[in-house]
């Protein structure tokens, strides 16, 4: 049988993947070298709904932020947590953090450390880091619905919750005005299904890009009050915070990455188009040679 002649398209289809890796790395790194390359982020409804709901809360209300993720997904989810904390603490809304993931509490502690001092908020009065509990989200939410101190008798660093002033306003789940579940897994669905559907506490979620498409169904039915999807969702929320809450201190972690995100998406689209073009052209070349 005659061997196909190795033309440009044939070689293009079989390029060493390490060149592809290098192009990806370059496309993500170069935009950071040009800090003026900041593109405005268009805010969509799902993120706006989260912002509007928190904006509608009053001073003294309680918001629970569940840090249900590990450092691997922190670039997408920590900016969301930071924005929620900023908006709440600026308004005087109390923030309670907890986690069913062991890595959650130090991430929460870092978020509070970064944000609380900007608004003169103190731990124990305006925010509490309850820490981590193993056993799964179901057990935690069901326990919180009855009595918070039965699940978290002490906070993250061992203080008894009875001695924490802010905990006087959070005895059980129904004392809260909002739960924000930040998760890279189906844990966010469990928070929504139990806290919202069963115990009537409004839930907003922040999820990674992998899962965001699944959550639009919940947004449509009103099971969620808002949805933050991936780094883009975090950037949208950062824009709302910077425009309306804290123009001087908008934390630009997610927004800073948007130029790189854009470059990488364009690169991937070009890869897909070029790969398909190479397939078509190399197929045509083979058919011509067979004739």
């Amino acid at each position: 049988m005659q061997q196909p002649r190795k033309g440009f398209w044939y070689s293009a289809l079989r390029i060493d993947r390490r060149y592809i890796f290098m192009l990806v790395f370059v496309s993500l790194t170069v935009p950071f070298l040009f800090p003026g390359m900041r593109v405005p982020v268009e805010v969509q409804n799902p993120a706006r709904q989260v912002y509007d709901f928190v904006d509608g809360l009053n001073e003294g209300d309680g918001v629970l932020v569940a840090f249900e993720y590990s450092p691997s997904t922190a670039p997408e989810l920590t900016p969301m947590a930071t924005c929620v904390a900023r908006q709440c603490l600026k308004k005087g809304v109390r923030v309670y953090a907890l986690s069913s993931a062991p890595e959650g509490p130090p991430i929460a502690a870092e978020v509070f450390r970064r944000v609380a001092g900007d608004y003169g908020r103190t731990e124990g009065e305006d925010y509490v880091n309850l820490g981590y509990k193993p056993g799964g989200v179901q057990a935690i939410v069901l326990g919180l619905a009855q009595n918070v101190s039965s699940v978290f008798p002490t906070d993250y660093v061992g203080r008894a919750v009875a001695d924490i002033p802010a905990m006087r306003h959070f005895k059980k789940l129904s004392d809260l005005k909002l739960c924000v579940a930040l998760s890279a897994s189906t844990v966010a669905e469990t928070w929504m299904g139990l806290a919202s559907a069963r115990f009537g506490v409004p839930v907003a979620t922040g999820v990674t890009g992998v899962m965001v498409a699944n959550f639009y169904a919940y947004l449509d039915t009103g099971q969620l009050v808002g949805l933050l999807g991936g780094m883009k969702g975090a950037a949208e929320y950062e824009r709302l915070i910077a425009e309306n809450v804290d123009p001087e201190r908008g934390y630009w972690f997610a927004t800073r990455g948007m130029a790189s995100q854009s470059a990488s998406h364009v690169l991937i689209v070009l890869f897909v188009l070029f790969g398909n073009l190479a397939m078509i052209m190399s197929g045509r070349g083979q058919r011509r040679r067979r004739r």
Binding site: R18, F21, V24, F25, L28, T29, F32, L33, P35, V43, R48, S72, T73, A74, P75, E76, P102, E103, E110, G131, Y132, K133, P134, G135, G136, Q138, A139, L142, P153, T154, E189, T190, M192, G193, L194, A197, R198, T208, G209, V210, V212, A213, N214, A217, D220, T221, G222, Q223, G229, G230, M231, K232, F253, R256, G257, S260, Q261, S264, H265, I268
Partner: protein, 260 residues
């Protein structure tokens, strides 16, 4: 985490080295990558074990039981609390019987309890979460009434100031009006759900008009998978952006190079 003195800077350099070791796998598998990977596995296992020992064995068993014994003379309910903690501890210890083949059957009891508990919580959860609201949301509403408030919000989103947006919204009747675009979208949603569900019903042959209908369902499924892929690309790139930000801002920062 910000650098604090010598140990902070050393930590950032060690992190950067581990990051580069891990990225070296992209070139090919090598001992540096394996070292970084095995160190990560060990450290993460140590962290998880320390947290589990503290949160469960210490905080959920030892502390409440010791506190309970102090109150048993004054409060009979303390005995019940102690008993529950000890039963939980016993169930937990039975999980560890998996290490000894002769008594590994004992681990079935706590497993059975956990699975039974999860099932009992899950059954109403599945109905409340995935079935009833989603069925309702598919058919209600099929028409979309556009109100003045929605028009005002849309105009503000497009950059108009609130007063001008309110003026533009006055073109909408006070009771609202049928929004054809969104109504058609909701009908598309309804047809999409029915056709995609029909595709998974294999008791009837996918032939003729029914076959064409299920084909429409396949197209909806493909759009959904494509949207998921697009969002997954965003997610994966975001993770890599996080690492690059660490290298460019934190690591280069220790060498006096400060990017904005």
């Amino acid at each position: 985490m910000e650098a604090h003195g010598f140990w902070g800077v050393l930590g950032i350099w060690f992190s950067a080295a581990l990051t580069v070791f891990a990225f070296s796998f992209l070139y090919k598998d090598n001992p540096f990558y394996r070292f970084a990977e095995s160190l990560f596995v060990g450290v993460s296992a140590g962290y998880w074990a320390a947290m589990a020992v503290h949160e469960t064995m210490y905080r959920d068993v030892v502390v409440p039981v010791m506190a309970g014994f102090r109150f048993t003379s004054s409060d009979p309910a303390a005995w019940a609390m102690i008993l529950h903690r000890l039963v939980g501890c016993a169930l937990g210890l039975m999980m560890w019987s998996r290490f000894l083949p002769r008594i590994s059957w004992m681990s079935r009891w706590p497993m059975a309890f956990t699975i039974g508990f999860g099932t009992g919580v899950g059954i109403p959860y599945y109905i409340q979460q995935w079935l009833l609201p989603q069925i309702y949301g598919t058919v209600v509403p099929l028409t979309y009434i556009w109100t003045r408030a929605a028009e005002q919000k849309k105009q503000i989103g497009w950059g108009l100031n609130p007063e001008l947006a309110a003026k533009m919204a006055e073109a909408i009747p006070p009771d609202g009006m049928l929004h054809w675009g969104l109504t058609i979208s909701r009908i598309i949603l309804f047809i999409g759900v029915l056709s995609a569900l029909s595709y998974f019903f294999f008791s009837k042959a996918h032939k003729g008009a029914y076959g064409k209908f299920t084909r429409v369902g396949v197209y909806f499924l493909m759009i959904s998978f494509g949207a998921t892929f697009g969002n997954t690309v965003m997610a994966r790139m975001a993770l890599l952006i996080g690492r690059i930000q660490f290298l460019l801002y934190d690591w280069l920062g220790t060498m006096g190079v400060h990017l904005q």
